[in-house]
């Protein structure tokens, strides 16, 4: 499934990432597809991440965890989250082909983030449903 996103769609997605996630204080947020391509990304400029490597690893990580879930008899795990001392990473599936990855610190609680991610994912899904 090859796909193309137009300017309006990308801007729509970036607006959702900005308002729902970035504005609550996360370090960075990016939307990737499960092949590892970066669709949209926002970061606060303080962290110098290699976004393309992160995206490839995020997709690989998510794919591996999904395969493990199937082996143990689950459709998927509802929470995929890695906790660090200064930064944490949260993964969330958007439809079947996309992942929302959020990097955040102690200032944002996981529960609140999961709520905002769920809201953002629904809004993004509406935009992505309309792509070619």
């Amino acid at each position: 499934m090859d796909y193309t996103l137009g300017q309006k769609q990308i801007e729509g997605i970036e607006k959702i990432l900005q308002e729902d996630l970035f504005d609550i204080g996360v370090f960075s947020v990016f939307l990737v597809d499960r092949a590892g391509n970066v669709i949209a990304d926002l970061d606060n400029g303080k962290l110098d991440h290699d976004i393309y490597s992160l995206a490839a690893l995020a997709a690989g990580n998510f794919g591996a965890v999904s395969a493990m879930a199937n082996i143990v008899g689950e459709d998927e795990f509802s929470l995929l989250f890695h906790q660090g001392t200064k930064a944490n990473i949260h993964f969330s599936k958007v439809m079947t082909e996309f992942l929302l990855v959020t990097i955040f610190g102690k200032e944002v609680s996981l529960g609140f983030l999961r709520l905002k991610v769920a809201e953002a994912s629904e809004k993004i899904a509406k935009i992505l449903e309309r792509i070619d």
């Binding site: 996103l5 801007e11 597809d33 490839a56 997709a59 395969a67």
Partner: protein
Amino acid sequence: MAFVNLKKKLVQVKIVYYGPGRGGKTTNLEFIYNKIKDRINKEMVTIKTHGDRTLFFDFLPFDIGKIKGYDIKVQLYTVPGQVKYDATRRLVLRGVDGVVFVADSMSVRREQNIISLKNLQKNLSTYKKSIFKIPLVLQYNKRDLSEQGIPLLPIETLEKDLNSQLKVPSFEASALTGDNVFATLKRATSVTMASLQKKLK
């Protein structure tokens, strides 16, 4: 699957280096990385065992410049070649746009090449892709070993084993010395881009 970002005028394509274990997939990427690392100023991602066998994948993003006003970003991946890592290979193949099959020219690896190529065909089919249609380039690696007296498969044998039905471009190469590493990559990129341009029309 290729991703076209009309806002940033950017196309991202995924090329996977596939082949039997110890065939030279990672060495190909390492050679490419060593040549371009001053330009890109980034580390290559490698996830491997203590024994230097690829465990998950290697990853190297590679900008090839502009085509028709679009920046083309090629994402190079390798898969782990050992037979037991089949599930991982399948995972890394997700969304693949083009494949470089790195065959091991050593005579003792003849069967492994064939098994690996059949494995590629099987794993591509789980994503409803056909090995006969996907942009594919063959690389017959380790040709430098003939100088050390190690028995190598003649090119005719490799072509007959691996390319008699596919009939795709093939290159004799040495990933260790770099011979034809970039030529293989350039050809793989151009067949991938050609296929993508056809689809976009």
